[in-house]
């Protein structure tokens, strides 16, 4: 009975609480105090730049840390970060970075070139197990070091010439190398802080916790409540602190996209990571909409296992691709949130445009299928599409299944697999057709084309061509000019797409809701946001001017 008696007051208290609530929204208080409330999509795995991978991690790490060069948020061209300037040798293989003497760690210590040597040793060391170690592979001997073929880091092409001068020697001119300096896997970490909590290569020490972490970016870590929120505050020691408008940012692990959108509507968030597809038409109807969509450096495609019948026949692969009406698919199923794709590299990747070798042509598709031995689908042995369990992938697969049935009269089954099972099927090549997406790590066609190197880890199709490998691995890196390089890419991509080891479907877009009080979030191909440029304007509300 006592239990019952104690429960009644608790419940009454709860009922009383109902009376309050409704007060100031996060957006109102944030605008007043200079704090951005940011829907970050998920709880980050961690904040160690050499250990984690993923988009939510990237957002926070790039606010806490800064690379040698950063991307301009509008043009994506490199601009000074930790390095105030750099020289590139005439042959394009030696980069000399001059570190800004004002660049400081968040504990006030100056940043040095040797911090970079130490940090890249850590990032490349095989024991660290960095999944992004390959981002530094353009550097001389880095790959060999990472694969334990050499053990002396002095042989790797990174030298501290003095406290403020870092010299990096590359295997070949790498036009996208400066872009890599804005990728967190190349960021410097504070050696003393890491060593205080463990060995250089330890993955699970508490050095990134509040109170322990020393970083070098525009913000410092202030609170990290697991699965609840992460708060960062403006750094006192950041070299460009006078140009940082925000006092801080709240990151929320908004895994449920529907809840995230509702939080935005209730002004609990300034910014959402995504927008549920069925809400997009509503937002588009509004004048002065909060909905922001931009082309995104990623391609959605179907992998084809070229060793499994019937798709081992190139004629069948081409027929399937010709019979796919991408325009209708992107207009209806995808609500115009995607751009039809006809090759692996997204259009206008830093001036490079991929070949378009085919279009929607059902008559041609039927012809090819007949030539392959299945006139009007007769004798068709069946085909299975696998995808990882997700409603969006299912809708696309169903639409494609219907298109192929209608145009080619062939039966296709679709089956979903749980994420890790799907990854396993793809890596073991246990599939006929599998859904796949690739998001670029840096803006360069190389990042898409080198997927299809013979036996490459991300190839998974069985596509193998010595000529293609030679262009990507040897000829393009040595190209003298951008035109020559892009010409080689075009040739390689044409060769590859003629064999059709993949069926390209669409180019991604980034989709966000941005509160009208937020300025300085620029849509770009990398969906890259530099929080240092973000400003808040109090007085602007979702529902007209605030009081």
């Amino acid at each position: 009975m006592r239990l019952f008696q104690s429960i009644i007051p608790a419940s009454v208290l709860m009922a009383l609480l109902t009376a309050c609530g409704g007060g100031e929204s996060n957006v109102e208080s944030g605008n007043r105090d200079g704090f951005l409330h940011y829907g970050n999509g998920a709880e980050p795995q961690g904040l160690d730049p050499h250990v984690v991978t993923g988009v939510p991690e990237n957002h926070i790490i790039r606010a806490l840390f800064e690379g040698l060069a950063v991307k301009n948020p509008i043009t994506l061209e490199p601009e000074p970060g930790v390095a105030e300037r750099w020289d590139i040798s005439d042959d394009g293989t030696v980069y000399t970075f001059y570190i800004n003497p004002e660049a400081k760690w968040s504990n006030g210590e100056p940043m040095t070139a040797s911090d970079y040597v130490w940090s890249w040793n850590r990032a490349l060391h095989p024991d660290t197990g960095s999944l992004y170690a390959y981002m530094l592979y353009p550097i001389v001997n880095s790959e060999a070091y990472s694969k334990r073929e050499i053990t002396d880091f002095d042989q790797v092409g990174v030298k501290a010439l003095d406290d403020l001068t870092l010299q990096v020697t590359l295997n070949a001119p790498t036009p996208y190398f400066l872009q890599l300096m804005d990728h967190y896997s190349s960021f410097a970490v504070h050696p003393e802080t890491l060593l205080k909590h463990g060995k250089m290569t330890d993955r699970f020490t508490p050095w990134t916790r509040v109170g322990n972490i020393v970083s070098n970016g525009a913000f410092t870590l202030d609170e990290w409540s697991l699965n609840r929120r992460i708060i960062i505050k403006k750094s006192e020691h950041y070299w460009d602190r006078d140009n940082v408008a925000l006092n801080g940012v709240y990151f929320y692990p908004t895994e449920n996209v529907v809840s995230e959108e509702r939080m935005f509507r209730a002004e609990q968030l300034h910014y959402t990571q995504v927008v549920p597809l069925d809400k997009i038409p509503e937002y588009r109807k509004q004048g002065n909409t909060s909905y922001v969509q931009a082309a995104y450096l990623g391609t959605y495609y179907y992998l084809v296992n070229t060793d499994r019948p019937p798709v081992d026949n190139v004629l069948v692969r081409r027929a399937l691709s010709y019979a796919l009406d991408r325009d209708t698919l992107t207009r209806t199923v995808l609500q115009e949130t995607a751009i039809p794709a006809y090759s692996i590299t997204p259009p206008d990747t830093l001036g490079y445009n991929p070949p378009k070798l085919f279009d929607y042509d059902p008559a041609k598709a039927r012809e090819l299928l007949a030539e392959a031995g299945y006139p009007n689908g007769e004798g068709w042995p069946g085909l299975e599409i696998i995808y990882n369990t997700q409603e969006a992938h299912r809708k696309i697969a169903v639409a494609i299944q219907q298109m192929w049935k209608k145009e080619l009269n062939i039966d296709v089954t679709i089956s979903n697999q749980e994420w890790k099972v799907y990854l396993n099927s793809v890596s073991q090549r246990d599939f006929q057709v599998a859904r796949r997406g690739w998001i670029g790590d840096y803006v360069d066609a190389n990042n898409f084309l080198d997927l299809f190197i013979t036996d490459g880890g991300n190839n998974n199709t069985g596509y193998a061509s010595d000529e293609f490998d030679d262009i990507i691995l040897n000829l393009a890196p040595k190209a003298k000019s951008r035109d020559e390089r892009y010409g080689l890419f075009y040739k390689a991509e044409t060769m590859m797409m003629n064999e059709m080891p993949i069926i390209p479907i669409y180019t991604y877009t980034s989709k966000h809701l941005v509160h009208p009080s937020v300025e300085g979030i620029y849509p770009n191909l990398m969906d890259s946001l530099n929080l240092k440029y973000v400003k808040l304007h109090p007085g602007r509300s979702l529902y007209g001017e605030a009081n």
Binding site: M14, G21, D127, N227, R228, S259
Partner: protein, 311 residues
Amino acid sequence: MLRFIFWRLLQAIPVIFVVITATFFLVRSAPGGPFDSEKAVLPEVKRALEAQYKLDLPLHEQYIAYLGDLSNGDLGPSFKYPGRSVNEILGSGLPVTAELGLYALSFALLIGVLAGVFAALRPNTRQDYIPMGMAMIGICMPSFLLGPLLVLIFGIYLDWLPIAGWGDLPGDKILPSITLGSAYAAYIARLSRAGMLEILSQDYIRTARAKGLPEWRVVIQHALRGGLIPVIAFLGPAFAGLLAGSFVVETIFQIPGLGRFYVQAAFNRDYTMILGTTVFLSTLIVFFNLISDVIAAWLNPRLRAQFKGGA
């Protein structure tokens, strides 16, 4: 009574041991591993990772090492969240989930018992049918429907309550507690109605009424204690269920509790996290079942007499 508790605890040990062993080998037999990702992992990197997490050892050695760590209360490092131990993650999520569970259960008890008693007083009349009909709807209504519905009404249209978060804004704990508690309120209403109906037909209640006691005193002083025994027996498993089953509510309302880790650990093949949450929750379920048995025994004079007799 002590002997009863001791025996039940002793029985729990093999149960939990079987749970650990089965989970340990089952998760490792599932396709895909913790370090598989969409971007191919270089073989040398994968080897380094497996070495850091002792996955390069033969399976039986991993098992023995895990049991050794477990006996020291160490659930191991999380694979998905490098730098965090499973103990720490459970430690951060449990208070939140427990608090949510407690509010939900309080809400469920308040509403459920009131409705159940109310219905039992006039069985097979409108006073019975209406609350019981609502209870049926409550049981049938899944939280992924009720939660967004409450959010739309109270969070967006009326703008009375925050729609997500936990302890960030005043009143943000109300909607999740109600959402999670509703189904349980409905069960409790049905259980307390049945319990009360049985008790109200007993001789001692008739005696109490014959003595001229007012109806409310008959109900509260005499009938409730016996009538609520089925509810008490339900509470232990219900609370354990709330702890394990709050995943949907935690996701809808962005609550930093255990439920989300519990489910995601399986998707991530975070072996230590799957094991940690399973071991932890199975221990809790065993423990709460025990507590509710003890309370039910203590409330029921007939059972109490049995224990006194040394059953």
